[in-house]
Symmetry: C2
Subunit: 251 residues, 2 copies
């Protein structure tokens, strides 16, 4: 690996503001094609991606992503779906009887979809594009599915806002590698060990500002009380599980 590529992986960051330049259809197509060489389950490629460029569709989708700036301002949205439907259609025309609507195959399709999405991110970023995952795609999956015409057997899992970055963007801090890499077994950690692993994050200046702005005592409270509160997580979980069933999965 050359030094430039190595630096890329260490310094990459999400981009949320884009210029008005629209990535060409050909470029997106070539990125998607290259990304389709990502590993996947049994080479079934249990995913599809819906490309949204039309101003009408983008205007419809943005509110489903709570009008976050990346959703509103990016010229292209790529909604990646776990997709067992296409595989089932192939089985239909091949005298084969698939059993795909169960948790294992749904999970396989989700894994395929995410690995494919992450490959799109890497290839797009190496082409000079900026990307932002919109986590809201799973919150409002039912409405997004309706807008994109997603049939039974498909589930939107990731959505990427894609475009040319309009500003350098800001790197996010990460936990030290000791926090994520375990040797042989998962360690039990004392309170002090946990505090130590999160110390740099807790002390990071932009995070301290974040605590203050939100009127909280700790950074963790910003996550639990403001960003991912129970009052969102639980109702959106119910909506999502109901949606999985509506899409024909036995979960």
């Amino acid at each position: 690996m050359n030094t430039e590529t190595e630096e890329y992986f260490l310094n990459r960051h999400t981009v949320r503001t884009f210029t008005s330049e629209v990535p060409s259809k050909e470029l997106i197509r070539s990125i998607v094609e290259a990304a389709s060489h990502a590993p996947n389950t049994g080479n079934m490629q249990l995913y599809s991606v819906v490309e949204t460029r039309s101003p009408e569709q983008r205007a419809l989708l943005a509110p489903q992503h709570f009008n976050q700036p990346a959703a509103v301002n990016s010229p292209v949205l790529l909604t990646v779906c776990a997709d067992v439907r296409r595989f089932e259609r192939w089985c239909e025309v091949s005298r084969a009887e698939p059993a795909m609507r169960n948790p294992q195959m749904l999970l396989a399709a989700i894994i395929d979809a995410v690995a494919f999405t992450q490959q799109i991110v890497t290839i797009a970023e190496l082409h000079g594009l900026g990307t932002c995952y919109l986590g809201t795609v799973t919150y409002n999956a039912p409405k997004i599915a309706e807008m994109l015409g997603l049939p039974a057997g498909t589930v939107p899992v990731c959505c990427l806002a894609v475009g040319y970055p309009s500003e350098p963007g800001v790197e996010s801090e990460r936990l030290p590698v000791e926090a994520i890499l375990c040797e042989e077994t998962y360690p039990e950690r004392t309170d002090e060990e946990i505090r130590e692993l999160y110390r740099a994050k807790d002390d990071y200046e932009p995070n301290r500002k974040f605590i203050e702005e939100n009127g909280k005592e700790t950074l963790a409270q910003v996550f639990t009380d403001v960003r991912y509160p129970r009052s969102n997580n639980e109702p959106f979980s119910k909506i999502f599980v109901d949606f999985l069933r509506a899409q024909g999965f036995e979960v």
Copy 2:
């Protein structure tokens, strides 16, 4: 992106046979560290990875991967977990009350874990290593969790066999980009359109051999009757859902 890197994405393939050379701890650590810059949900980094190198642990894990050659012969296994546990421990020491054991946060953790895994794959492969996802990790999640000491709040999602390739490896065919890239909405496809999208795959010589060896009429039947039959998918789904509940998730 330079030409070499561009070629890499188009030509990469899974490796299942490895030399006896063991990737150093330092190399794996540096790959994991770089991969931790992958995008993730709200910068919570809801994943951990357990590195298995000891001969004893490898010998215990291999049967849980049905002794597939990549599991038996690779010098290093990386089991990547969706992990809300570490985040919850941080909340515990930060006077914060998390709500992570629900489907939305589990899905967020799975997405984080897979994007991180795929980033490991790309970085490792660009370093000249070979990798193979072991899909079996979700089939035998309960026993693997026991062996790796995975506590409540963690779920093994991906497992990578990692090592130096002992042979060039074989590229897998992929569906044409039209099969996976949808413009604006997901298309309804006629039987003939589906046949056309899968024609090259059905006609691919190694796949034809595969049909013959398995005594089937079509390639799709090899998938539904031999590789991913209902008689595996459904019992392993039940085991997995029970495991999620045992790990404390309300699913």
